[in-house]
């Protein structure tokens, strides 16, 4: 198969995926027990019926479901994601604002937890039952079983409130204009939420890698390598990393979508202005355009995450390249 064909197939797959996701989420939100009109005007409103009717027709709230969906689809195809009912602002604007913050935090936490978690697992797996191994295992089990919002509150109260090392929340300094803010300010504000998300995501990958290392270490070819006189560094480089990296990367990419869940919690605790809080607002207010927009972007994000992992497989293990881009 040539590359053009592959790319065409890939795009087709993406379009089908997005289409199905949009239909499913549309059905879910329109059937949710939330009245968008009610959340728009509030229960304690004294609007006349005339004004209410204008609102209903402006937002198309009483049209049949398939008509609403089709008109949404038509607008999206022409590049217009619509206007959020809850925020009264264009959906694309809200998503762009929020996503630019979320993506930094998510990827920072995801990459850090992947790298640190992998090496922790590697080193504790080489010397099973050493003190390092025991401490790491205990640490991971505690982290795996503690909810991330609790972790966030602990981190916040220790490092921000008690010690004052980090800011209490937000992605920018309090009371400062953009012109008065530096990139260091932004990194400084990113650190505590990123560390928290990293810590909460690290347990799984560490335990998993350790398990894999144990398996490999017990294999015949390691025994043979030792017999050949290879030292630990050589064994790690030549055998362990090659054989444990792929499962670790697979696991880390499969947790790509879980990041969104952790994000929403971290955003709440650290008042970080990401996509999670916008998604919550959209869902609670029956804001169909915004929720669909966020779902689309998230689906794209996860899709490309999996796509990248396939490319990386190929780089690590050239045998997989034969199977094609989207093996």
């Amino acid at each position: 198969m040539n590359n053009a064909k592959k790319i065409a197939l890939l795009s087709l797959r993406m379009i089908v995926l997005l289409f199905l996701v949009s239909i499913l989420s549309f059905i879910l939100i329109t059937n949710a027990p939330i009245d968008p009109l009610l959340s728009y005007i509030g229960t304690e409103s004294t609007l006349t019926q005339d004004a209410i009717d204008q609102i209903i027709s402006r937002w198309g709230l009483n049209e049949p479901m398939h008509i609403r969906y089709l008109s949404w689809l038509k607008n999206v195809l022409s590049g217009d994601l619509g206007t959020s009912i809850a925020y009264k602002k264009p959906v694309s604007e809200i998503i762009f604002q929020r996503f630019s913050y979320s993506i930094v935090l998510m990827l920072a936490a995801w990459i850090l937890s992947g790298i640190i978690g992998y090496f922790l697992g590697l080193f504790s797996g080489i010397k099973p039952n050493s003190i390092f191994d025991k401490i790491t295992s205990l640490f991971c089990i505690v982290l795996q079983s503690s909810p991330s919002f609790w972790m966030g509150i602990m981190m916040l109260s220790i490092f921000a409130v008690k010690l004052g090392w980090f800011p209490i929340g937000m992605a920018i300094p309090l009371g400062k204009l953009t012109s008065e803010t530096t990139i260091l300010d932004k990194i400084y504000h990113l650190m505590l939420p990123a560390i928290t998300l990293t810590i909460t995501n690290i347990g799984k990958i560490t335990i998993f890698t350790k398990q894999k290392v144990n398996e490999v270490m017990a294999s015949d070819y390691i025994l043979f390598a030792k017999a050949r006189g290879e030292n630990t560094t050589q064994i790690i480089k030549r055998h362990l990393m090659r054989n444990t990296a792929i499962p670790a990367i697979t696991l880390q990419f499969s947790s790509f979508s879980e990041l969104f869940g952790g994000m929403a919690l971290a955003e709440t605790v650290f008042a970080y202005p990401g996509i999670g809080s916008a998604a919550t607002t959209a869902a609670l207010n029956g804001d169909v355009p915004l929720l669909l927009g966020i779902t689309m972007i998230s689906a794209l994000f996860v899709f490309f995450g999996n796509f990248i992992s396939n490319i990386i497989y190929g780089i690590i293990d050239p045998r997989l390249k034969q199977g094609g881009l989207y093996a």
């Binding site: 304690e44 402006r58 009264k88 809200i94 916040l156 309090l174 202005p273």
Partner: protein
């Protein structure tokens, strides 16, 4: 392997660079250099961030706008006084409202405000009514200007609450109105202008140097978006000057800050269906227990509101038996409660007797028992009431729920409501006869010809004083039947830094607004 490491590093850098260009909206106005000593940071809830700041889309219509002033405003006694208008007149037939416009007022961009801008603002809302859920201009037929300093509104029918509407609409400039820009940095004639807007993080405002009524003395105010717990934590580490807190946190101690409760017009009441149970188009409406006026009256005089407030709200708030007296149209029907013996006597005379000694009264085989549905935030109030009502032999089952379920129960069971607005139209919503068609008006099914006539008279009155008189009479008349059980006039609690004076004397009574109304007089705040 090296390739992966490079890719990872490279992607990290790209991501961080992308994040650093996060979009913010900065107004074109030049900002003055400010020393931090004369700047404050405040957390007043998140309501300000939830929607647009554009008055055309209903922003800040509860009477505490800081960027866009309206034609008139309320003073500390809830009377209307001129703001962008200096005086106004209502025609004999109640159809024409003539406003004389204040001269020499400038917008924050330096341009002059004239009658044209007012006409533009109202026409813009009327043409985009669906974008504005707070200001209802469907009864406005036309608005015209005469010269630069007079505006005439013509209504399609007499509607006295139109005056309230003119206090809710912030004026925007006709020449530079831009729907997208005004979501974040509106241009107005108010005391403040938005310098920078960070979505869901902070709004930074500085004084409008063209403000007509004295430029604020604080150089910069930052309104931040946090949650209640994080805000309190930030206050404890000394980073905030004003923090709104829920009543459950009002007993906390914060260094260098004082706890200040502020007066509101916000009340909590329970609707009690007044008709017996029946089937209306397939849904059950009415309630066989609350339909007995004796039960409703016994509850109203027999419960101990102060105890309920102590249990549910940590003692913050005042007992209420009617709308608050800081509303000029309130009948202010205050009476003593906790008359347990009298309440018991009423119930017994009406035939509600506890014959099986389970603590709950019965009458003709029916237990004196009903449900109250409420959203989670008001649930403590419902349970505290239930506990109190048990002493009278009335059993209330309180349920924490969502509005979807509440809607299905509101015509047959009790519901906790919150009201707090300057406009008396709430009286019409509460008491005027309507069909139980699923709307939130008059869910108790109250119907009284006399009250209906009084409400019609109030809506159709051609002058403000008559309207108020009719509104009061309508309430008095309806409250004799106790269709609603008034419980509490809540208070908004804030921690305020000792270095800041929030000018309590010029605070208007706070409307329903989750803490934001404290900024109503921000122009009068000073650093000590």
């Amino acid at each position: 392997m090296k390739k992966i490491v490079y890719m990872v590093i490279l992607s990290m850098m790209v991501i961080i660079a992308a994040g650093c260009q996060s979009p913010t909206t900065q107004s074109k106005n030049k900002t003055s250099d400010t020393s931090n000593n004369n700047a404050i940071i405040a957390y007043v809830g998140t309501a300000i961030f939830d929607s647009s700041l554009d008055p055309i889309k209903g922003a800040m219509s509860y009477g505490y706008s800081f960027t866009n002033s309206a034609l008139i405003k309320v003073d500390t006694d809830s009377n209307y006084i001129g703001d962008m208008a200096t005086e106004w007149e209502i025609s004999e037939d109640g159809l024409k409202y003539t406003f004389n416009i204040r001269e020499n007022v400038k917008f924050s961009d330096g341009s002059d405000m004239t009658a044209k801008d007012i006409v533009f603002t109202y026409e813009q809302i009327k043409n985009n009514q669906a974008e504005n859920e707070n200001v209802d201009l469907t009864r406005l037929e036309s608005v015209t200007s005469i010269g630069d300093h007079q505006v005439i509104f013509t209504l399609s029918q007499p509607f006295s609450p139109f005056l309230d509407i003119t206090s809710m609409v912030g004026i925007v400039p006709s020449s530079s109105y831009d729907s997208a820009q005004f979501d974040y940095t509106p241009i107005g004639t108010g005391p403040w202008k938005v310098i920078q807007y960070y979505a869901n993080q902070q709004i930074i405002v500085e004084p409008n140097e063209y403000y007509y009524d004295g430029i604020p003395s604080i150089d910069r105010v930052t309104l931040v978006y946090l949650n209640d717990e994080t805000a309190l934590a930030a206050a404890k580490s000394g980073q905030l000057d004003v923090v709104m807190v829920g009543s459950n946190y009002s007993n906390e101690q914060v260094d260098n800050m004082a706890m200040i409760p502020l007066e509101t017009m916000d009340i909590r009441m329970i609707s009690l269906p007044v008709n017996t149970e029946s089937n209306y188009n397939g849904t059950i409406i009415g309630n066989n227990v609350t339909s007995d006026i004796n039960v409703r009256k016994a509850l109203s005089i027999g419960i101990d509101r102060q105890t309920i407030i102590n249990h549910a709200l940590g003692g913050i708030g005042k007992p209420a038996t009617s709308f608050t007296n800081n509303l000029i149209w309130s009948d202010n029907n205050q009476f003593d409660d906790n008359k347990v013996e009298e309440a018991k006597e009423i119930l017994e005379n009406a035939g509600w007797i506890d014959s099986d000694n389970d603590g709950i009264r019965e009458k003709a085989g029916i237990k004196c028992e009903f449900d109250i549905y409420t959203t989670e935030d008001r649930y403590p109030l419902a349970t505290a009431l239930a506990e109190n009502a048990l002493e009278l032999g009335i059993k209330i089952n309180s349920h924490s729920s969502n509005w979807d379920e509440i809607s299905s129960k509101m015509n047959s069971q009790g519901v906790v409501w919150g009201w707090g607005q300057f406009s008396p139209t709430v009286i019409s919503s509460l008491f005027k006869t309507t069909d139980p068609d699923g709307s939130y008006d008059n869910v108790v099914g109250y119907s009284n010809d006399n009250v209906d006539t009084l409400i019609d008279n109030a809506l159709g009155s051609t002058n403000h004083d008559d309207a108020i008189k009719y509104w009061k009479e309508a309430q008095m008349c309806a409250n004799n039947d106790y269709p609603y059980l008034y419980i509490v006039n809540i208070e908004h609690s804030y921690f305020v830094s000792n270095r800041l004076d929030i000018s309590i004397n010029t605070q208007i009574p706070h409307p329903h607004g989750h803490g934001s109304p404290i900024i109503c007089n921000m122009k009068d705040w000073t650093i000590k």
